[in-house]
Symmetry: C2
Subunit: 323 residues, 2 copies
């Protein structure tokens, strides 16, 4: 953290997103790439991605002739979910009931696609720095015919911990962090936000329910309201950290779904990961490059320092307060 | 690849690096952050990083009280290696003998630090997009008291393959790619460059010796000359792809060193990875974000398509040809 920085500086955020742009394919009433016209939606809006990375009918690569050349078809569907009809808001600037509607939509799409697919990945790329190509507040949902790599790793670790210690890894982990306190960012009646012990991104956080919950659809109405409120607080702190619309990639992980949904997945605990790239300011990011790609992640500040800074920030958004 | 791109566009490269800048701490004769003055070097130049991420005397975190909270000291040293006295050249613009001098310096530093440390990671972050904060041509060398995560993964895979198949994984892999040809980019008497079957970055490549070589210092003079020449060709193709100084992170992996250097590491094969971020043009990159961070890497073009494009490019640098 003491190194002078003469490297890449990100362009400052120009706050010139119009509330409605008829040429933006995510806006209500706009025409999309496939010619379909969006409804004049006034809450959330879910539709098929016009440029899907996964398709339900991907062909099989055929049998392999060598152990080092193994391939399998990756089948699935890709959807886009708009959070709000306006392009110039983000989750922290939305009201708690509006965020609650997003949570309900996340739960429904998990149920809908989880009926067929073993993994439903909900993720949000926020900000141009995180590869987001459209400023309209939205996330994506990619459902796949297989457990992706990260899901497999979490499955293995959680299963092994449960079989060795007789309780879910993330239940015990959350419990320990509540006792230790030094990595906590926010707590509410039903939720915890903390900078995990294993964090690699400077201001990475983990969002965990206190109760043992395997998947989003299991959340009670009270837990959903409380989640909306703690998300608003966390994302407000993020924006306040460098007084910018804080970029990140985030996503939900819960027990696998699909035809195996009925199996015993009690070792799973629902959680969301937030991976924000910023390190020093609104324009100087952390680069996960040479050493990180070739050897191992290395942190520029400790998880405890990151948690302390996030804890100290106000819960009122810098754009809304003291006017 | 068909999606319209309205996202982040990188600033174009301004080719205004002066050949010599007395205020650049990497230049010959310049004063560094710690007050030391660089020699007037005229080849490569190795020195201790003034802001090291690893230190030889890092304190021990003490015993852990819980299986989920395990920490160990990470000890080591960080060095910087300048490739050339001039700031306005890059490896592809250097002569083959000048690149050969870099290879010799890589072999020496591996020997020197490998006498004490089990892992010596040589890596180059090239370009601002890859977090490089100084345009002077240089790489870094981080030696550690432990095998980093990626080294451990390669150790496990190579050891398992050797014990199952009786030969080194990467020897058989290189052999297969020579037969299959579709992922080859360049071949020479002693080396291969290919887009690996498992590549995640669009134009990722793997550089492999044809002979079974465990570590850089084992390379013969002929193999080093040939390496200098194939590196110049590869990096020239990279620059020619989008007519830009092509950014990447690259690094060398070889058998572990240190006190265990004498053990049997015959399952290891020396290799270099190149991870370049560009996807569509000099200013539009691939983002490894939401789905990639939370689920699994997804490619925008196949390794075979990438190899074909790289193969077709001239071996004369666009800045040097047809004047
Ligand atoms: O050492 P540098 O060039 O200051 O820093 C660069 O490389 C390091 C090692 O990959 C990274 O940890 C930094 O994030 C990156 O900016
Ligand atoms: O789907 P988008 O927003 O076009 O694309 C973005 O998210 C994808 C999923 O993480 C990435 O593969 C792309 O590199 C990124 O630009």
């Amino acid at each position: 953290m003491k190194r002078p920085w003469q490297g890449q500086v990100e362009p400052p955020l120009l706050n010139t997103v119009p509330r409605h742009d008829p040429h933006n394919p995510l806006c209500p009433g706009a025409t999309r790439a496939n010619g379909e016209v969006n409804p004049h939606y006034d809450g959330t809006f879910l539709f098929d991605n016009d440029f899907p990375a996964l398709q339900p009918d991907a062909p099989s690569p055929g049998p392999s002739d060598h152990p080092l050349f193994q391939a399998e078809a990756a089948r699935g569907v890709c959807k886009v979910m708009c959070f709000h009809p306006w392009s110039d808001v983000t989750l922290p600037l939305m009201s708690v009931p509006e965020i609650r509607a997003v949570i309900d939509a996340w739960a429904s799409v998990t149920e809908e696609l989880g009926a067929q697919y073993p993994w439903v990945q909900i993720f949000e790329n926020k900000g141009a720095m995180m590869g987001c190509s459209n400023p309209h507040p939205h996330c994506q949902v990619w459902a796949s015919s297989f457990l992706p790599d990260v899901a497999q790793r979490e499955e293995r670790s959680q299963r092994a911990y449960q079989s060795q210690h007789g309780e879910p890894l993330l239940m015990e982990y959350g419990h320990q962090e509540l006792l230790r306190k030094e990595r906590l960012v926010l707590t509410s009646e039903h939720w915890l936000v903390l900078v995990p012990f294993w964090a690699v991104w400077p201001f990475q956080t983990l969002l965990l329910p206190r109760r043992h919950v395997r998947r989003l659809p299991e959340l009670t109405p009270t837990e959903r309201d409380d989640l909306a409120s703690i998300m608003k607080k966390l994302l407000t702190k993020y924006d306040n950290l460098f007084e910018t619309s804080f970029p990140y990639s985030m996503g939900w992980h819960g027990a696998p779904t699909g035809s195996e949904a009925g199996a015993n997945w009690d070792h799973w605990q629902l959680h969301a990961h937030y991976y924000p790239p910023l390190l020093r300011s609104a324009t100087v990011r952390k680069f996960m490059v040479g050493y990180e790609m070739l050897a191992q992640a290395q942190r520029d500040l400790t998880p405890e320092q990151a948690a302390e800074r996030l804890r100290a920030l106000p819960e009122v958004h810098y754009c809304l307060g003291q006017k």
